[in-house]
Each structure stands twice: as structure tokens, then as C-alpha cells.
């Protein structure tokens, strides 16, 4: 506790007097033209594609079939699902060669298995950010942190109606300050590095491949 007192005392003794005004971040981002839903969807897809993700726009009725086809294409044998309605729906549509299970055990009970045997993880993003091609995951009981991280292929379903234009819009629109999960993760592509001679390589420590399925909004033409 002594260090704490010393550090705070030193800072208090030196802290500038007089009020300083809080910078107005909202004012800075206000007044930009709003993007339409179609524009946001297009931008999200374009940015993610530029970041080396494989993006498909899918329908509400048929998305599970599209995901299943992708699983077959990639030869996924063991798939790990986020628990919930979407996971169950997908489980019912799987190709013959794919086995699926929900992430339902504490990590330490099967760490080696998760690291070594699982080919792909399937998650539903909470929302997305068009400007940077970003998928937001609120980790919690139904969204384990490692599901989107350890398996070499990550498949994400995201609802087009949940796409925000910018990070600022998402943070404000979702009121993050009031409802921070234990771990909020934003994902903008497959894992990568340029640490060897500035040469870009994918699959550094996280998933080498990212597949994104954007659920076309209700009433939107195909």
C-alpha cells in the first residue's frame, strides 16, 4: 500500500490546478452522413474481404445450408459450436463428414483436445462495424473466449441489421460503457503477422482462415 500512497501523493502534488474540460468525442463524430443498410453491408463485406476473410451474403431461410456447404468445401471434420439456436440449426444441416459439438465443458477439462483436434469454431457475432470490417463478440457463458481463437478456421454469422457504420456508433448504439462483458473482442480478419521482414503471413497464433456469413436483412432483395 505504501507504493500506492507514494505514487498518488507525488501525482497529486504535481497535478495541474484548475478544471480541464473533457474532450467531446461525440461532437467530433457527429454530423457525418449516415450510411444506408445496404451501404453498410457492402462496406463490411469489402473491408473483410480486403483483410483476407472469405465473405458470403446469405439468406435467413438458407444460411445453415450455405455454412454446411462451406464446411464440406473446407473438409471440416470436427466443428465446435456456440450454444444457442443458431448452433442447433446448423447442427441439423451438417454434411455427412462433419461432427459437431457445443462448447459446453470448462476449458481446463479438455484443453489439449481443443488445441489439437478441433478444426473449426462457429460463432454468432453480436454486431459488426462496417468502416473497418470488424466483428464484435461479447464473450460470456454462451460465447467462450477461445471458441473464436483456438480452432484454425473460424466461421461467423452476423446479421446485416446489426451492422454499425463505425466503432463510435457501435460503442454508443450498444451502450457498451453500461454493459461491458468480461471480455469484448473485435475481430477484423484472420490472425496475421508481418514480424519477419514486413512480409504478411496469416495464421500466426489465431485462426488462419475467417469465413463470414452476412445474414441479409429482412425484406432486402437478393
Amino acid at each position: 500500500m505504501n507504493a500506492r500512497t507514494n505514487m498518488l501523493n507525488k501525482l497529486r502534488a504535481a497535478a495541474p490546478r484548475g478544471a480541464s474540460t473533457m474532450p467531446d468525442v461525440a461532437a467530433y463524430y457527429a454530423g457525418r452522413p449516415a450510411a444506408t443498410l445496404a451501404e453498410r453491408t457492402e462496406r463490411l463485406a469489402a473491408e473483410l474481404t480486403a483483410s483476407h476473410a472469405d465473405v458470403r451474403v446469405v439468406s435467413r431461410a438458407g444460411w445453415a445450408v450455405d455454412v454446411a456447404r462451406a464446411l464440406e468445401e473446407k473438409g471440416v471434420r470436427r466443428l465446435l459450436l456456440q450454444s444457442g439456436a443458431e448452433g442447433q440449426l446448423l447442427a441439423g444441416a451438417l454434411p455427412a463428414g462433419t461432427q459437431a459439438a457445443e462448447f459446453s465443458r470448462p476449458l481446463e477439462d479438455w484443453k489439449a483436445e481443443l488445441f489439437e483436434d478441433v478444426d473449426a469454431g462457429f460463432t454468432v457475432a453480436d454486431c459488426a462495424i462496417a468502416a473497418t470490417g470488424t466483428l464484435v463478440h461479447l464473450c460470456g457463458p454462451h460465447m467462450p473466449r477461445t471458441l473464436s481463437l483456438v480452432p484454425p478456421l473460424h466461421l461467423v454469422l452476423v446479421d446485416a441489421a446489426r451492422i454499425y457504420a463505425t466503432l463510435f456508433d457501435a460503442a454508443a448504439g450498444e451502450n457498451w460503457p453500461a454493459r461491458m462483458p468480461s471480455n469484448l473482442v473485435m475481430i477484423s480478419g484472420p490472425s496475421k503477422t508481418a514480424d519477419i521482414q514486413q512480409t504478411l503471413a496469416y495464421g500466426a497464433h489465431g485462426p488462419a482462415r475467417l469465413m463470414v456469413f452476412i445474414l441479409r436483412a429482412e425484406g432486402e432483395a437478393a
Binding site: 501525482l11 480541464s20 468525442v25 461525440a26 465443458r105 488445441f115 514480424d195
Partner: protein
């Protein structure tokens, strides 16, 4: 892993090491290539000049606000984190910080640590300390891992292995990682690194990380990365320890929004990095993964000295993007190791004197042309050249002089002889008579100026007074005295 001892190089031999670096062709090529690449990438990200400048204004205002309220924000951060279940520790010195981390490991009967990238842990030389206490620390950021295998230290704060080329890495991996044939294929090299570290993530008892921003409002640690090793280090081991310089706190979650955009665009020319990892609590009931314990170590280690001085306080606005080094003509030629400090380049020159003292920092505040490229690109508008001049003055100041905010190592470069010369000059300038006498003498005795003039003539022709002074020439033209 740590067969090779880490190198601890005193910053004192800066000139010698700089000389060596200048003569090293391969090193110069590595840095030139990297600098050109990073400069171009940053330029592409900031094509809209108006947007860039207004964002820099905002970023600077946010950091200034945070510093103006630093003690309050740190207390708020501590309150929020504690309420969220994260344990907060305060460390005045590097030694205290190291002891805190060791204690956490011992209490958890831990032996193996996996590390995400953390410059603060480099600053306190944590690996070395824990190694001495029988702990095994493995760096997992690809660049840090390469540097650790080589028994070196990072040469850049964002890209630690920037001084190495493919062939260097190929040789290192072949030598240190079992069953690894020599290859210069970068994809293969990265996959080799991935495989080698996978097991380490699984086995680690503790994960250590740095912090990019800490949000006081919500009690959130905001971490930025591309590889996923940061997420693994903070998620898979049962205990996570984060360490950060105490200046990295900001007031509001939305304050990070412009800062993070400035950071990734300035650092690597990316609009965003692959992962933003916002940690607000350890594993909660019902959750299936995540660490059971999370700790945050708040580090002073000399920062309060910079904080105490109104001008030098702006040093702490830094968001560690590395843009100043990427654009520095000195750094670009000598690379990061020549500085001999954890933080090289312009930011290192203004920060190290507080961490180490002006005496230890030696030549660093002087190793600049004051060209201003650093402050021109700094996303939070730190006036780096002004701070360098100030630090030079403090280094030259008489060590016994009493000043309002004294710096450790004040007067390290003080020289009585130099002092006398300057006193002579200022005396001569102040008195018109003395000045006239000096002019008279200098123009007539110019034949006697020595040919060898200390350091000056090493690379330049000797200085010699002109046959007639400007003053006299103007007088000839009818300019009144």
C-alpha cells in the same frame, strides 16, 4: 530457451554502437526497407489531411485531459477494476513491479509464463528477474520470440525483430527449434513458430501482457494486436497479469475510439488491427474459459518525474505507436539497439532520462538533429524537439543549482570550461565595448585560428573568423551603430 543470457547494454556507449551500426550494411538495409515500408503505409492511411489534423487535435486533447486528472483517474480505475474482480497493484520502481509478479506466480505455484507483447515488462527486465528465480518466461509475439531466441532485445517498440531479415530468422529457427529445416519461406517460418508456441500456451501457468489503454469509467484493459498471441496469453492460462505504465489510463470508453484509430494507423498503417481485446473481468460464474485471476500492475518507474514538470509532462501523452522512430533520420540509420535503452528513437530520448536518469541516458537527448519529423507525425502532438532541448539544458545545468522540478542526473553533462565559454560569450554580447574589442581582435588574429578544433574538424573544415565583421561591413554602407 534462455540458454542465451539477455543483453543489458548501458546507454553510455551510444556513440560507439552508433558507429558500429552505421558500418553494418545488412542492418542498414533492414532498417531502410522497414522505414520506407512503414512510412508509406502510414501515409496511405492519412490521405485526408484535414481529417488527420483534426483527429490529432482530438487525440492530444484526450491524452492531456487524462494526464490533468491522472491521480483521480487511477483511483477510479482501481475502484472499477476491483469491483470487476481484477486485482490492482502499484509499483514505484522496476524492482517492486518484478517482485509483485514473482509473488503472484509463487502464490499460484506457477513456474511457466507465456508472454504477450509488453514493453513495460522489457523496461523492468522481467524475464531476466523471473529467470533468476527459476521461472520460465516465453515470449509469444513472433517478433519477440525471434528476439528472445537470438538472446537479444527488441530494436523497435512495435516491430521487435525489425533488424532481422528472413535469412536470420531461418537460421535461428533451424538452430533452436527441433526438426526445423532451413527455409526462407515466411509462411513456413510463421507456421513453425506457431507450432513451437502452441504447446507453451497450453502449459503456461500464467499469461503476461501489456496494456494499450485502460478505461477508468468501465475498468477495462484495451489490448491491440494482430497475431492472437495476446488473446491466447490473456485467456488460456489460469492467471493473467497485465502490466502498464501508470500514464496509460483514459477517462471514458469512447475516448479510446479516436486514440485507437490514431494508434493503428500511425504504427503500422492499418485502419484497424486484427484483434481488439477488451478485458473487464476474470472468468465469471457460468463462463467456460478465461483466467480465474486477473492482476494489473501500475508502474511509475520515473514517470512521476516527467509528470511533475509542466513541459516534460507531455512525454506521458505517448501512445507508443512508434511513428516517431519510423520517421527519424537518426533511428533509420542506426537502428534500435544503438540506443541501448528499452525505448529507442525519439520517444526513447525523451522518456529514458526519466526512467534511468540524465546521467544514464548519456548522449541520448543530444543524438538528434532537431529536424522535427517526429513531432510532425506524432499522433498526440508531443513537441519532441522542444523536450530534447529542455533535457539538454537540464543535462548541462550545474548539478548544484536548485530548480523547481529537479531531474535525476541533473548536470550529467555539465562542464565548468563550457560554462566559462558561454559566460564569456554572453558577457561579450551584452557590452558594446567588449563586443567591438572582440571583433577587432578576431578579424586581425584570424591567421592564428587552430586547424584542429576538437570534434568540429572531424568531419568539417575549421572555423575561421571572416576578415571583416558583418558589423563593419554594414558600417561601411552607412548603417549607424
Amino acid at each position: 530457451m534462455s540458454k542465451h543470457p539477455m543483453q543489458f547494454v548501458p546507454s553510455a556507449d551510444f556513440k560507439e554502437r552508433a558507429r558500429g551500426a552505421l558500418d553494418d550494411d545488412k542492418l542498414r538495409k533492414s532498417f531502410r526497407g522497414a522505414m520506407d515500408f512503414l512510412q508509406a503505409k502510414r501515409r496511405n492511411q492519412f490521405s485526408d489531411e484535414e481529417e488527420r489534423e483534426s483527429l490529432r487535435d482530438l487525440g492530444s486533447a484526450i491524452r492531456k485531459y487524462a494526464l490533468a486528472n491522472l491521480p483521480d483517474l487511477l483511483e477510479q480505475l482501481e475502484r472499477k477494476l476491483t469491483a470487476n474482480g481484477i486485482q490492482v497493484h502499484w509499483a514505484e520502481t522496476a524492482a517492486e513491479a518484478n517482485a509483485i509478479v514473482l509473488d503472484i506466480m509463487q502464490r499460484n505455484a506457477a513456474r511457466r509464463m507465456i508472454k504477450g507483447k509488453s514493453m513495460a515488462s522489457e523496461e523492468i527486465e522481467l524475464n531476466h528477474y523471473l529467470g533468476e528465480h527459476g521461472m520460465e518466461c516465453v515470449e509469444s509475439d513472433m517478433g519477440e520470440y525471434i528476439v528472445q531466441l537470438a538472446g537479444e532485445k527488441p530494436s523497435h517498440i512495435v516491430m521487435p525483430a525489425i533488424h532481422k531479415n528472413k535469412a536470420d530468422v531461418a537460421k535461428l529457427f533451424e538452430e533452436h527449434i527441433p526438426d526445423t529445416p532451413y527455409t526462407e519461406d515466411v509462411d513456413e517460418l510463421i507456421q513453425t513458430g506457431r507450432r513451437a508456441l502452441r504447446q507453451r500456451f497450453m502449459e503456461a501457468d500464467v499469461g503476461l501482457s501489456g496494456v494499450n489503454f485502460a478505461v477508468a469509467e468501465t475498468g477495462t484493459l484495451w489490448l491491440i494486436e494482430n497475431e492472437g498471441n495476446g488473446r491466447l496469453s490473456t485467456t488460456v492460462p489460469p492467471v493473467h497479469v497485465a502490466i502498464m505504465g501508470m500514464e496509460k489510463v483514459v477517462a471514458k470508453l469512447d475516448h479510446v475510439v479516436p486514440l485507437v484509430s490514431l494508434l493503428t494507423r500511425s504504427a503500422t498503417g492499418q485502419a484497424v488491427t486484427t484483434y481488439f481485446n477488451l478485458i473487464s473481468s476474470p472468468r465469471r460464474p457460468g463462463e467456460l474459459d478465461g483466467p480465474r485471476e486477473v492482476h494489473l500492475v501500475l508502474l511509475d518507474n520515473g514517470r512521476s518525474q516527467a509528470y511533475a514538470d509542466e513541459q516534460l509532462r507531455s512525454t506521458l501523452q505517448c501512445i507508443r505507436c512508434g511513428a516517431c522512430m519510423n520517421h527519424c533520420p537518426v533511428y533509420g540509420r542506426i537502428g534500435g539497439h544503438a540506443y541501448g535503452t528499452t525505448y529507442p528513437g525519439p520517444i526513447g530520448k525523451i522518456l529514458s532520462p526519466h526512467l534511468l536518469g540524465l546521467d544514464e541516458a548519456g548522449d541520448l537527448p543530444f543524438a538528434s538533429t532537431l529536424c522535427g519529423a517526429c513531432s510532425e507525425v506524432c499522433p498526440v502532438r508531443i513537441p519532441i524537439p522542444d523536450l530534447l532541448i529542455r533535457l539538454r539544458n537540464e543535462a548541462k545545468r550545474n548539478p548544484n543549482e536548485t530548480v523547481a522540478t529537479p531531474l535525476r542526473g541533473q548536470g550529467a553533462k555539465h562542464s565548468a570550461a563550457e560554462r566559462v565559454v558561454w559566460q564569456f560569450w554572453s558577457g561579450a554580447f551584452k557590452s558594446p565595448k567588449a563586443w567591438a574589442a572582440l571583433r577587432w581582435g578576431a578579424t586581425r588574429l584570424r591567421a592564428f585560428t587552430p586547424g584542429a578544433q576538437a570534434g568540429w574538424t572531424q568531419h568539417r573544415t575549421p572555423l575561421k573568423p571572416a576578415p571583416r565583421s558583418l558589423h563593419d561591413l554594414l558600417k561601411d554602407k552607412g548603417q549607424p551603430e
